[in-house]
Amino acid sequence: MKKIALVCIVCSFLLAGCWDERLYKELTIVPLIGYDGKPGEWMGYFTHTSIDSEDTVSYTTVEGSGISIEDARLNASRKTSESLDPSQILAVLLTEEAVRWDLVETFDVAYRMPRSRLSSKLAVVEGEMAPYMEKTEKMGLEPPNYYDKILATAAYHSIIPDVDIQQAARYILDDGVDLDLPYLKISEITGTPEVAGVALFSGKVFSGHVLDMRESTIVQVLKKKPGKFTVFSYEWENEGVKYPVTVELDRYKKQWEIQKDKIDVTYDVKLDITSFPADHLDEKKRRRELEQFLSKKLTQDFNKVMGKLQEAKSDPIGFGRVARAFHPELWNKGEWPETFSQLDIQVKVKAVITRTGIID
């Protein structure tokens, strides 16, 4: 009798399902989200998959508004047939307006709820959100995959940092370093969203300053967190003729000398030449000239970028971390962004050519 009762109970479970069961077929995958607005008035754009028949997947975007991003998601959920599941988000886009508020507070739900995905990519977009959520002809892929791919490729080329939601929180909560997020804008020529550089944060919020692709690459190099493939191009002038020279960053060393009111930064970079029509790289003299030229140019550019960072009161490079750890007198002067912006920072780049390709 006991056994029969037990079997009955077990079987009834089979019919009823369990308390915390969330059947996958009753959830909707949301791979791309865009947020616009400010605290109290959030607007969310959720691109979700819908499976129409046995094997076709299509993507649609629903909008929702609410006092928090979670509220916006629930609002949008009511407009879809299944509930929007935030566990497989590939990328989150934010307007410039949205990042003027503390990201950690905005994304509280993402950090708090265990189902959310923390390794989704983050990016800031220029202007309105709506056009970014639409599929354009030139994209080739569906928008979620498109953003995932272009952000990954740009990070691979050191143009932008590889930042996800979790790392963004780490940077924001760390006083010694500031966040820089990928910056996207719609190309004037093709009308397709593309990576334009990075948006600089100061303290916890967007500083309003944006760096272009060239400058943001230098920021990644300065951080010593470059992607796999970092390239610089300059025009080299010799006897009145201009030759383009393209170099790829090989390995490099950084050396920071932090003093009371100034920082001397030296980067010893090793470069591989990938394109140099003037040739004759087998001559020592030619290489020496080129090295000097590159050192000069890079130093100039690096210093220019540093100036822009100081102007934006943004320290994505992390001088603050070192200052906090080893130079308390500098760190305790005041708020770090202020201190940083007033420091005298001199960057020096020493370029050495290591490889010249398969022709001289």
Partner: protein
């Protein structure tokens, strides 16, 4: 027996004793100075052989050999009715001398015995291709052929009042554990059942716990496997008319080792041994893992995979557990059916069942194709284990895991694993720990479990559950 009885009435009496069986031969044979009655079943003994033996014996008696009755094939003893019955039923020839009241036994049984072909369910690629047959003597001789040592001890006893079945246990005196032999002996002697006709019955009596899905004795039809195991100090139990031998005490990991391991190279053997243990995990956990993911933890799927899984299951009307049960039970049915089918049709039905119905079931939208992939992988993995009993066991225990995953997702699987582990630790084989070397914990022996170690050392089964109390001292096993 009274002497007043004439030989004719004696013959009648004996015929009555065997209920006038048609194959019983009872007739008079005259000797030098007396007359005897010969009695045997002509179905079990060849009549011409009997004549030849009797002729030899008669010649010896005429030549007046002292103790002429005793030859390699014959012996003599006092007559008793039970002795007569035993001799005849065992296929011996009984020769009764009424005048001296002696009973001579001539042991020349001839049975039809199948050739020692390789057992179908335990194929190996390299190594011996002999297999046991349905004759206990032949089987023992196969073992003796491998081990020409006097230390190999063979003991028999007869069990079952009605069937009077011969059961033999074999071990190597110097290596085997006395305690284990005593257990085997007492358990066999205590078998109190009128009928014994299958080795499975004996297994039930010998096992420590019948109420467990895990086999606690290793069944094999391969002489080389028996030899390898008795050299490790195990005991082999044979039953007449059964080609399988039971080996014990065994631990769980011995079910995952095959004689082939030691025929291959060290690396190859180790690789496949690890692969087999890995497939054990797949066979148990894969369906429940799928159920847990689809039902509870879909967030662990990466986006690309997630979209694929979702498209596969979006239009399936059933809950994952029902879906899984449909395919799992279907596969079990195909398997069970193909065993019963005659060899020429078997594979055909397998293909029809597996491919045609499998494809149709997916197209009909009853189950997702992902489920079919998972169940097929599970089924294949469960067949990797080189032991039929263990194979059925692991196919059975994945069902509770599927249920656990339906109720609690990964937590259910975790709890189930713990319970399974505790259950296995509680088991013992002939009072020896089943999960040795994990219980008792002995890290130094782990490598033997996972790798085919280069030297074939004879390792005794751990003796007791309590650490050290019975640990083998080095050099003892020779």
């Amino acid at each position: 027996m009274e002497e007043v009885k004439s030989n004719d009435s004696l013959i009648l009496y004996i015929q009555n004793l065997f209920h006038d069986s048609a194959d019983l031969v009872v007739h008079e044979v005259s000797w030098k100075n007396e007359i005897s009655i010969v009695c045997f079943y002509n179905t079990m003994t060849d009549s011409a052989d009997v004549n030849r033996q009797i002729e030899i014996l008669r010649q010896r008696s005429i030549d007046d050999f002292p103790k002429w009755e005793g030859t390699a094939a014959s012996s003599v003893g006092a007559f008793s009715e039970s002795q007569l019955i035993e001799n005849v039923t065992h296929g011996f020839v009984a020769v009764f001398f009424p005048s001296t009241n002696l009973l001579m036994t001539i042991t020349i049984p001839t049975f039809e015995v199948r050739a020692t072909a390789e057992p179908d369910n335990e194929l190996v690629i390299r190594g011996s291709h002999e297999g046991f047959v349905e004759s206990i003597d032949k089987n023992i001789s196969l073992i003796r052929k491998h081990l020409s040592i006097p230390d190999l001890v063979v003991k028999d006893l007869r069990i079952g009042k009605e069937t009077n079945t011969k059961v033999t246990y074999v071990y190597i005196e110097s290596i085997a554990d006395k305690e284990v032999i005593d257990i085997v002996k007492t358990r066999l002697e205590n078998i109190d059942t009128p009928k014994v006709y299958s080795i499975g019955q004996i297994e039930d009596y010998l096992e420590d716990t019948v109420w467990s899905p895990f086999p606690q004795l290793l069944t094999t039809e391969r002489p080389d496997r028996v030899v390898a195991n008795i050299l490790e100090g195990k005991v082999a139990v044979f039953m007449d008319q059964s080609p399988s031998a039971l080996l014990g005490p065994v631990n769980f990991f011995s079910f995952y080792q095959t004689p082939d391991d030691f025929n291959g190279r060290v690396f190859v053997g180790s690789f496949f041994r690890i692969l087999r243990l890995f497939s054990f995990l797949i066979a148990i956990f894969l369906p429940s893992f799928y159920i847990a993911v689809v039902g509870f933890h879909s967030e662990i799927l990466p986006y690309e995979l997630g979209v694929k899984v979702k498209t596969a299951i979006q239009f399936i009307p059933y809950r994952p557990i029902i879906e899984a049960m449909i395919v799992e039970l279907f596969i079990e049915v195909i398997r069970e059916a193909t065993i019963r089918l005659p060899a020429p049709i078997g594979p055909t039905i397998g293909i029809v069942g597996g491919l045609v119905i499998g494809d149709a079931i997916v197209n009909a939208g009853l189950v997702s194709n992902l489920m079919v992939v998972i169940v097929a992988m599970t089924a294949i993995s469960s067949f990797v284990v080189p032991s039929v009993e263990m194979n059925t066991t692991i196919r059975l225990i994945r069902f509770p895991f599927m249920l656990a995953a339906t109720f609690f997702g990964f937590l259910g699987i975790a709890i189930g694993t713990l319970i399974l582990f505790i259950h296995m630790m509680n088991r013992s084989s002939l009072n020896q720990p089943y999960l040795s070397p994990i219980v008792p914990f002995d890290p130094s022996r782990f490598k033997e479990v996972f790798f085919r170690t280069p030297y074939y050392k004879n390792n005794q089964q751990q003796k007791t559950f309590t650490f050290r109390a019975g640990k083998r001292k080095d050099g003892e096993g020779t």
